[in-house]
């Protein structure tokens, strides 16, 4: 029970903090994937934010560092680790991924009882993001992309044309077409 309370409290704080500095944020990673496919346990929560906006990033680091443990503390990285109540949250902007206003506009806003509302990447954009990261991280991210595509199609919640267009923009269309080549 104590872990549950601490966890909800940390997640609520993290969402509020990230939203304050990066209102365009979207939750990604396994947490977001779990809304579109059978849930798997996850050790951390990942936020996709615009880390290329160095001015805002500096303000965020200046604000967060006296209050929470944050690393690294300098500008220019693609990933920042934030510890709140000893739980880990990552702020990321993967290299090679184009986080454009259309992707931001297509986020899903989900009411989550203990935390109120969270924004997560759409299934199509999350699958594209996994395809981009599979270029570095390999098969495990490819499998996550396949899960999202297969289960979202089964839920009747997948815009294939948009997925292919975004795959093309992010230079992973060959992977997207291959994933779509089988029904399941």
């Amino acid at each position: 029970m104590a872990t549950e309370y601490r966890f909800y409290s940390a997640l609520r704080l993290a969402v509020r903090l990230v939203k304050k500095w990066f209102p365009e944020y979207a939750l990604i990673g396994r947490f977001a994937r779990n809304f579109y496919a059978p849930p798997e346990t996850t050790l951390d929560v990942d936020f996709l934010v615009n880390l290329d906006d160095h001015e805002r990033l500096k303000k965020f680091l200046d604000y967060a560092s006296p209050r929470f443990q944050v690393s690294p503390m300098d500008i220019g990285h693609w990933q920042y680790k934030l510890y709140i109540k000893s739980l880990r949250f990552d702020l990321v902007k993967p290299k090679g991924y184009n986080y454009d206003p259309e992707v931001v506009a297509r986020r899903r806003h989900i009411k989550l009882e203990p935390i109120s509302e969270v924004a997560i990447l759409s299934p199509e954009d999350l699958a594209v993001l996994y395809l981009v990261s599979s270029l570095d991280r390999g098969v495990k991210d490819l499998i996550k992309a396949k899960d999202i595509v297969a289960y979202s199609k089964a839920r009747g919640d997948f815009n294939e044309e948009y997925f292919l267009r975004k795959s093309e923009e992010n230079k992973v269309k060959h992977l997207a077409l291959t994933l779509l080549s089988s029904n399941y």
């Binding site: 872990t3 549950e4 966890f7 997640l11 396994r30 947490f31 779990n34 809304f35 579109y36 496919a37 059978p38 849930p39 798997e40 346990t41 996850t42 050790l43 951390d44 929560v45 000893s86 739980l87 880990r88 899903r108 989900i110 009411k111 989550l112 009882e113 203990p114 599979s134 270029l135 390999g138 098969v139 490819l142 499998i143 396949k146 899960d147 297969a150 289960y151 089964a154 839920r155 009747g156 919640d157 294939e160 044309e161 292919l164 267009r165 093309e168 269309k173 060959h174 992977l175 077409l177 291959t178 994933l179 779509l180 080549s181 089988s182 399941y184």
Partner: protein
């Protein structure tokens, strides 16, 4: 899926269902091509239709057509607890 090697470079031709025509993609140098390996894996990936049925019947919320939020939160909690236990045992 059809791979072609031209000099030291590798290409693949795929049916582009968006534009309804075959299309050639450049994959990089042919020696030890990781992208070609990924494409081969991607072609083999399947999700068991039985598991999809089970997900739709038991784990999806018919109102939102997304996974039930209680299951999503539970997955996070279990992960956080496992992580906490691991941290505690490391500290000991």
């Amino acid at each position: 899926m059809k791979f072609q090697r031209v000099n030291d470079y590798l290409y693949v031709t795929l049916w582009d269902k968006q534009y309804k025509r075959p299309r050639r993609f450049y994959l990089g140098k042919s020696t030890n091509n990781k992208l070609a390996e990924l494409l081969n894996v991607a072609e083999q990936l399947r999700v068991d239709p039985e598991e999809i049925r089970d997900y739709l019947e038991r784990q999806m919320d018919p109102a939102t057509r997304l996974t039930r939020t209680d299951l999503v939160v539970l997955a996070l909690l279990l992960g956080a607890k496992a992580w906490q236990q691991n941290t505690d045992s490391t500290a000991h």
